[in-house]
Symmetry: C2
Subunit: 382 residues, 2 copies
């Protein structure tokens, strides 16, 4: 299997881009990535997107974006795995090169969400849950995560305020990221006093939606020469039941554990080797569960890492280093690609104020649904 390297990254700021259509946002990221890679063209384009059909009345995004950026007649499709769509598109793009079918492709993610009424967005996000057995009961995506967090507090004896350091760290890091949506630090007091959304999840536990796009240019690693080649050494998707109530233990992300273990095995490493971890902090509870499932903390003990400062850029397992979903923002189908773009920034030493010293191995993990579809990628500087 041919190893795949990342030679170009591109991203738009996450925000409210009402003046741009979805193809324009996507095009900006693709052209930035091509420019970064010093290339004019690729053979394939794999677009992670969740809700363009519902929100923008536009499917067929692959062909639409390829045409818009002048990548005439290339192979181009959309890949969907709810909020994990971005990383799923990357996983698919890797196989296109690893199989020998193509020599250069783009994996990207795009989402446009801020022009609609919030009730429409809530309904669109709920399509990530089980329509027949969760959404039909009136459960929104936030309330599903609230049930998980409530159970976690009860089961392991944590207080809500113990989750504050996850959000404080994310915001502190986002301040320095020009592409982040929420570039404002928050205090413990801000967190404790934030407006309740769906108890116990308050406004500062939840990541903001946004419009945005991010893109990666991929080529076979053996086509490159020189130093500082960034290779994808692990790539795996694992799934779980879509309905949370169907899982034996709703507090354990089985799909995260499985996709992680597979990625570690492909890379020949374990959790201790990871220098930076861009995890899927859509809600603060998800940070704790991800750290546990991926081997960084024992079951029920994820919040310790945050309370002890280990998740900061200077800590033992830096997370959300450019803001994470909480601070950079969560344009759902694009998020998985933003995460990988940020890992590349870290491995290149281009992460600015929140650079993790000597980062050589980074991991990105993107989650679709409440743990239903979990995609892990491990990148290494060679």
């Amino acid at each position: 299997m041919r190893e795949v390297a990342i030679i170009g990254i591109g991203q738009t700021p996450v925000g409210e881009h009402w003046e741009k259509s979805i193809r324009e946002i996507a095009g900006e990221a693709v052209l930035a990535a091509l420019n970064d890679a010093r290339r004019d063209s690729v053979e394939g384009l794999y677009v992670g997107n969740m809700m363009s059909g519902i929100i923008s009345q536009q499917e067929n995004l692959g062909a639409l974006i390829a045409d818009w950026v002048g990548l005439k007649n290339i192979e181009a499709v959309k890949v969907e795995a709810a909020c994990g769509s971005g990383a799923a598109a990357l996983r698919i793009a890797i196989n296109a090169i690893a199989s020998g079918a193509m020599e250069a492709v783009i994996a990207m993610g795009v989402e446009k969400m801020t022009e609609n009424k919030s009730s429409e967005i809530t309904a669109a996000l709920a399509t990530a849950a089980d329509a027949d057995f969760e959404s039909a009961q009136g459960l929104s995506f936030v309330s599903l995560n609230a049930l998980i967090m409530q159970r976690y507090l009860y089961e392991y004896g944590w207080k809500h305020t113990d989750f504050a350091p996850f959000s404080i760290n994310a915001h502190a890091n986002a301040v320095h990221n020009p592409n982040a949506r929420l570039r404002e630090p928050i205090s413990l007091k801000d967190y404790q006093e934030a407006r309740m959304i769906s108890a116990p999840i308050n406004l500062l536990d939840a990541s903001p939606i946004g419009d945005g796009a991010a893109a990666l240019v991929l080529v076979p690693a053996d086509s490159l020469h020189g130093e500082k080649i960034i290779s994808i050494v692990g790539s795996a998707i694992a799934t779980d039941t879509v309905a949370v109530h169907d899982r034996p233990d709703p507090l354990w992300l089985t799909a995260a554990e499985k996709s992680c273990k597979k990625a570690y095995s492909m890379a020949g490493i374990d959790a201790d080797d990871i220098d930076v971890f861009e995890l899927h902090d859509a809600f603060s509870i998800m940070s704790a569960l991800s750290l546990e499932a991926c081997g960084f903390a024992e079951r029920g003990k994820g919040p310790y890492l945050a309370l002890e400062g280990e998740i900061s850029p200077k800590g033992s397992i830096p997370i959300s280093t450019l803001g994470g979903l909480k601070g950079r923002g969560h344009p759902v189908g694009a998020t998985g690609i933003y995460q990988v773009v940020e890992v590349v920034q870290q491995l290149r030493g281009e992460a600015g104020e929140t650079q993790v010293d000597g980062a050589r191995i980074g991991m990105a993990q993107n989650i679709g649904g409440s743990g239903a579809n979990i995609i892990t990628h491990i990148l290494k500087v060679k």
Copy 2:
């Protein structure tokens, strides 16, 4: 690049399955394909689907279906390329095996469309067109194809009635397919007197929508021994502008020509070698355009093949042999997989009354949008 073989096929009848949810329809096809392949499991599931988010308020279909059929924790994602979603999922699935990442996967397609109001389905289908520059002008998907057909009649001097043999052939073949939606023969008079939908497209030019699912089990060809191994020897996607008015010639399917030529080249064959061709006859005009772009007829002369009987199972280039989109029905995201299932039936000699004698090489071509995304697969018995 490892060659990929098809060892199992499954399909539900195309129809109105109001008593079943989308996961149930999908599950039937997957389990039938696994049963046909005599396997219990696979490592990956790639689901072609266009409109489940809009129609069933359900995304994350990969995880949903994998869980429903008991394929616990496997890699599973949805692939979307409008009405070409099914074949796009197959293209992605092939790479998963060709890359060496997996040893057995399922490519499937599913769509559930008949429970909604027709205005909702018309709106959902319009997401295959350009939302900003076509749909926003009030163009439905049928009316876009009507413009193309009208131009074709004008440009090449054909009469509407000259397209009758395409629909008559499709219906005649569908009669013998137990999975077809419209198992009734039609006459020339029926065609000429059919109700107008969007001039010049009448009811018998247009394929019916439907609920349905189809699935394929894929493994590396070199893992098989014995005779009658059905290999995928060509696989290619090409794209074009989504908006028809952006094309220099709206009567030429550039993406069909490009994906076909690539597939022919991979297979080391040309059009003359094709024994059976399951093309995308969503509208009768599309049959003519596909035959021309793929090298079976000269530009503007596609209808001759139909008028001269060459498209019947006994003709020189049999099309729609199990009914095609027109007769079997068009559950959009599933159609591309139905086409390949039917080519396998032909190559196995299991096509019944409409068996093409001695079929050894078959082609399936699936179209997303009005020619925006065209996916070609060539299968060969070895």
